[in-house]
């Protein structure tokens, strides 16, 4: 706000004081929000680390089981069993709110299936295939969990950045500028008051002479 654009009036001063009060209140609230979001972020970060480790472990296990299945059953056996997967996992996305930030809540259905629902016959299918299927089901579940946590983390981070920018803008730009304008108006009003007093004194002196 350029000082030359400011009208040095009393009403403007009152308005400005109100705006400063509002900005300071907003600043405090946003600062609290930022701190709260940072706390939440660290909580989610802990979960994300665990989830990332679990995802890596699930991926390694699934790969290992696939290698074992290919060794024991051959690619043909694995492929034949894979053909029986008719129902693909479904993903449902809901929303939840963390301190005003909308984050996804991802739910997967038909990911883990009991043996009889996997599609292939119970007889003649080896345990290696079952264990590989289980390992990949775990992997898909872990991917869903990680996706939820990582998206939450990203959204929180974006919101923290946004709030931080607002807090900084209020602290280093808006409030100082408003204070400067308030001081300027005050100074101009004082000056005007002094000029008025001086003028009145001059008139009085002239009329007495």
């Amino acid at each position: 706000m350029a000082l030359r654009d400011i009208k040095p009036t009393r009403s403007e001063l009152i308005n400005l004081k109100r705006r400063i009060q509002l900005s300071e209140r907003g600043y405090k609230i946003l600062k609290m929000k930022r701190d709260g979001l940072i706390l939440e972020f660290f909580k989610v970060l802990g979960q994300a680390k665990d989830s990332q480790n679990a995802l890596n472990a699930a991926y390694a296990r699934a790969e290992e089981m696939m290698a074992v299945a290919n060794t024991v059953e051959g690619a043909i056996g694995v492929k034949s069993a894979a053909f029986s997967v008719k129902e693909v996992p479904q993903i449902g996305v809901k929303q939840k709110n963390i301190m005003g930030v909308v984050v996804p809540e991802i739910q997967g259905s038909s990911v883990t299936k009991p043996l009889v629902d996997r599609g292939y016959g119970v007889l003649g299918t080896s345990s290696t295939i079952d264990e590989t299927a289980s390992a990949f089901e775990d992997l898909v579940e872990q991917i869903i969990r990680s996706a939820e946590i990582e998206t939450t983390m990203k959204r929180l981070l974006e919101e923290i950045e946004k709030t931080k920018r607002r807090v900084n803008a209020l602290e280093f730009k808006v409030i100082p500028e408003q204070a400067e304008a308030r001081d300027f108006i005050k100074m101009r009003l004082d000056e005007m008051e002094r000029e008025e007093l001086f003028r009145l004194k001059r008139i009085k002196a002239r009329s007495q002479a």
Partner: protein, 352 residues
């Protein structure tokens, strides 16, 4: 039928199987390309040349093994062409039928998820009694029902197992119904085919009984692992096992604990599995015990080669030994591809 002549031919084929030294050479090769070069010095050369044009490394080896397996089994089956209905031909078909069951299951599975015929074809092993031309025609059908209809039209025996179950499959949408019917049919055919009082019939009755026992034990272990109730699972237990009756197996499922279930194997040839069952219960890893069961059956089958030099058991024993060879080569290739150590590889190999 001149069984002596067939046995002589099969013994000749047995001599072409890779011996321990050849297998050792394959294990010692540094990579898959060297393994392919090594295999090209063996009877697998022809199939490798065809497969390696289109595929590379481990996929090429697996494809070549599949083709070679199909060629050798077709050759054995062709030896019985003039005596298709003989007892010996029936015995051979018991063994080869398992490939038919595998192929039919794969086609039904592929059709149920509308996979392309080319994709399904890659998972087939035309080593059974259904030849490649029949399988290709089945692949051309649009859905599961049409596949079963074609089997019925051509009067192929498997239609007898599938047709009565079409309604249940339509209602439930579960392919398991049809697969289970195929498995039951396979075992029923095997039991019927080995009836008789000839010495070789006794040997094969024992083998089929062992196969049923092994299949039932694997089913029981799966039920205990997944906590499936006896009521839901009893229909999956097969009758006609050599040593394990349905009562024993049901009792094992009711125990709900592998360690406890193992006690019921007392007095049977499967008692050696008891420590493995307890270990599986504690560790939650069931594949070692399943592998041991598979090996048990394979060893029983392979031992037939030396049982009676004049009977069909030589041919059946050879089929098992050849399967062991193909499986071992595949294991070596896959272990090399996955970068497993020599010790891990050695543990996976099947030794007779």
């Amino acid at each position: 039928m001149d069984q002596g002549y067939i046995n002589a031919r099969v013994r000749g084929m047995y001599r072409t199987l890779l011996g321990p030294d050849a297998l050792r050479n394959l294990i010692l090769v540094p990579d898959l390309d060297a393994m392919i070069s090594e295999l090209q010095k063996t009877p697998y050369r022809e199939e490798l040349e065809t497969s390696c044009v289109r595929r590379s490394s481990v996929v090429c080896i697996e494809d070549a093994l599949r083709r070679h397996l199909a060629r050798v089994y077709s050759k054995i089956l062709a030896m019985f062409d003039d005596q298709r209905e003989s007892r010996e031909a029936r015995y051979v078909r018991i063994f080869l039928n398992r490939w038919d069951v595998h192929n039919l299951k794969t086609i039904l599975r592929g059709k149920s998820i509308r996979s392309s015929p080319e994709e399904i074809r890659e998972a087939l092993v035309p080593a059974g009694t259904l030849d490649e031309a029949t399988l290709v025609e089945l692949l051309k059908q649009n859905d599961v029902r049409q596949v079963i209809d074609l089997l019925a039209t051509w009067n192929i025996d498997y239609a007898k197992a599938l047709t009565p179950n079409i309604d249940e499959w339509s209602r439930s949408g579960q392919l398991l119904v049809l697969e289970h019917a195929l498995d039951r049919y396979y075992f029923q055919y095997a039991r019927d085919a080995v009836r008789g009082r000839q010495p070789e019939a006794f040997a094969l009755q024992e083998l089929v009984g062992t196969e049923i026992d092994v299949t039932n034990l694997k089913t029981v272990i799966t039920f205990i692992r997944d906590g499936i109730d006896l009521e839901d699972g009893e229909r999956f237990l097969l009758e006609g096992g050599g040593e394990l009756t349905t009562e024993v197996l049901s009792g094992m499922v009711s125990d709900g604990n592998l360690g406890k279930a193992g006690e019921r194997l007392e007095g049977t040839r499967f008692i050696s599995l008891r420590p493995l069952l307890t270990e599986a219960q504690n560790s939650g890893r069931f594949s070692p015990v399943m592998k041991e069961l598979d090996w048990h059956l394979i060893r029983a089958g392979a031992s037939l080669f030396r049982r009676d030099p004049l009977s069909i058991t030589v041919v059946i024993g050879f089929l098992y030994r050849f399967l062991i060879e193909v499986t071992n080569i595949r294991i070596i290739a896959r272990c090399r591809d996955a970068g497993l150590s020599d010790e891990e590889l050695e543990a996976e190999l099947i030794h007779v």
